[in-house]
């Protein structure tokens, strides 16, 4: 898997995705892996003729990530899922559920799939669409 991976940063992400799309790659999945308390790794998986390519993007919690939906529309469900469960916020989402795809409003600001402790105020920023998210996030579970 390492061999087919390409590490990108936020500015390169859309460009690399567009390159893959021109080559005919099909979007397969988007995985979020929590590395430690500060970073989440996003892995974009693509497939062409049974061969896979992966784009890896390391995200500091609390920063906004450009959505790849302008290039691959199909990614909107996975991006919404990660927004709900990991608290990573995507900008420019084609269909933005604003954190209500899986979770309800009262869950706003919490990240059920993160296992490491997160700093409350930063989380509040990250899930910033809700105004009432800040109080909730202080009680974040580890």
């Amino acid at each position: 898997m390492k061999a087919q991976s390409l590490f990108v940063n936020m500015d390169q992400l859309l460009g690399e995705a567009a390159k893959l799309q021109v080559e005919g790659y099909r979007y397969v999945a988007l995985t979020a892996v929590e590395i430690d308390g500060q970073t989440v790794e996003l892995i974009y998986h693509f497939d062409l003729n049974l061969g896979m390519r992966h784009l890896r993007l390391s995200v500091q919690k609390g920063t906004r990530v450009p959505s790849i939906t302008p290039v691959y529309l199909a990614a909107f469900l996975a991006e919404n899922e990660i927004q709900d469960l990991f608290g990573v916020v995507f900008s420019g989402l084609a269909v933005d559920f604003k954190g209500t795809l899986y979770t309800e409003n009262e869950m706003r600001g919490r990240v059920p799939f993160c296992r490491y402790t997160v700093v409350g105020s930063e989380k509040g920023e990250a899930a910033g669409q809700g105004d009432n998210s800040r109080e909730d996030s202080s009680g974040e579970a580890s």
């Binding site: 999945a29 995985t31 892996v33 998986h45 059920p112």
Partner: protein, 359 residues
């Protein structure tokens, strides 16, 4: 004309599982669709935190009831790859046999539900009657009807003796005859064609762009089937993906119908070639370490597993991308422009499995 919003689901007579679609309708024509999920979200991916990696086999089986065997197979193959062990040849053939039986029972279930979606009740019953025979084979050979629980890391947990293989083949002969008898009723019927032909057309370029998988992709004329990867013993069997060109609901129905017959053929081949020997290897040594990706073709399409482990008993991360998750964007793009009365047929034509999708 003024537009109206009509909600469909989460409780709806044709939907087997809860999904909510908010349809914006002008007159009778749909102009916009917004889905909403999360009614059966169980957070199974996070259960890897509290179970060791052997016990996760039973957890992933419960991601989806209908394709449980393939979920477990996909997970076991991923772990086997990480640990550098290989299942014995007999186990690989047994995995093929059970997974193809699973594909048959899932497709027969779907064909029945599809018939039900346009109100063909007796055809629905007929398909489910045949499906019951497949479930009998499951129960007699593995012990359980649907969640068969035969996979384990390093092989399979149950064996088939010669008598059982003989019996499976004779049962399959009957099943094939009965499925063929129902073929013309489903595929040549005037009313069925009227409801399905040309409804929900997905062109091959659209299908690739929207990342669809499985029969939905193959009905649009793209020959992409994860069985071409040759996992388990599939590399040694003669296999050709079933494709259709039209890309409408009828083509998707036809692909699934032909795949039932293709699965019977695959089981016959596997039963003819099955080697003698062990059914599992002992798993020794340290827990898996590193990352692995595993892909398997399920009845609904490609399932994708990403497994990450730090060499401890409990896995670090397990990511499951189920086929319906990949097919939903396509569904949302084909619904606008259709009549409201086509919604049940077109929604069912991608074979939605919502519990899988939300995990």
């Amino acid at each position: 004309m003024k537009s109206t919003v009509i909600p469909i689901g989460p409780q709806h007579p044709v939907l087997p599982e809860p999904v909510h679609l908010k349809l914006t309708v002008v007159d009778e024509v749909i102009t916009d669709v917004v889905p909403s999920l999360g009614f059966v979200h169980r957070g199974l991916e996070m259960l890897v935190d509290s179970r060791d990696y052997h016990q996760v086999v039973q957890i992933v089986e419960r991601v989806c009831g209908i394709c449980s065997m393939m979920h477990a197979m996909c997970y076991c193959q991923g772990i086997e790859e990480m640990m550098g062990i290989e299942a014995p040849p007999r186990a690989k053939y047994l995995r093929v046999i059970w997974s193809e039986l699973h594909r048959m029972h899932s497709h027969l279930l779907w064909l029945g539900l599809f018939a039900d979606s346009f109100g063909f009740e007796s055809l629905f019953m007929q398909f489910w009657r045949i499906r019951e025979k497949v479930l009998d084979i499951h129960e007699a050979t593995t012990g359980n009807r649907v969640i068969v629980s035969v996979n384990k890391i390093g092989g399979v947990g149950k064996d088939l003796d010669d008598d059982q293989i003989e019996w499976i083949l004779s049962e399959l002969k009957n099943i094939k005859r009965e499925v063929r008898r129902l073929g013309p009723t489903l595929l040549d019927d005037y009313t069925v064609k009227k409801r399905t032909v040309g409804r929900g057309v997905l062109t091959s370029q659209q299908a690739i762009d929207l990342g669809t998988v499985g029969p939905t992709l193959r009905a649009s004329g793209v020959a992409r089937d994860m069985r071409q990867l040759g996992y388990a013993a599939l590399g040694e069997l003669d296999f050709e993906p079933v494709i259709e060109e039209a890309g409408d609901s009828w083509a998707r129905c036809k692909v699934r119908f032909k795949e039932v017959l293709a699965s019977i053929d695959m089981i016959r081949q596997a039963a003819g070639k099955i080697p003698a020997g062990d059914i599992a290897v002992r798993v020794k040594g340290a827990p898996p370490e590193g990352e692995a990706i595993s892909r398997v073709e399920q009845p609904r399409g490609e399932v994708f597993y990403y497994i990450k482990s730090k060499g401890q008993k409990k896995l670090e991360r397990l990511r499951i991308r189920t086929p319906t998750f990949a097919n939903l964007p396509a569904l949302l793009s084909i619904l606008p422009g259709l009549y409201l009365s086509d919604v049940p047929v077109v929604v069912l034509s991608i074979d939605p499995c919502i519990s899988c999708t939300e995990r």
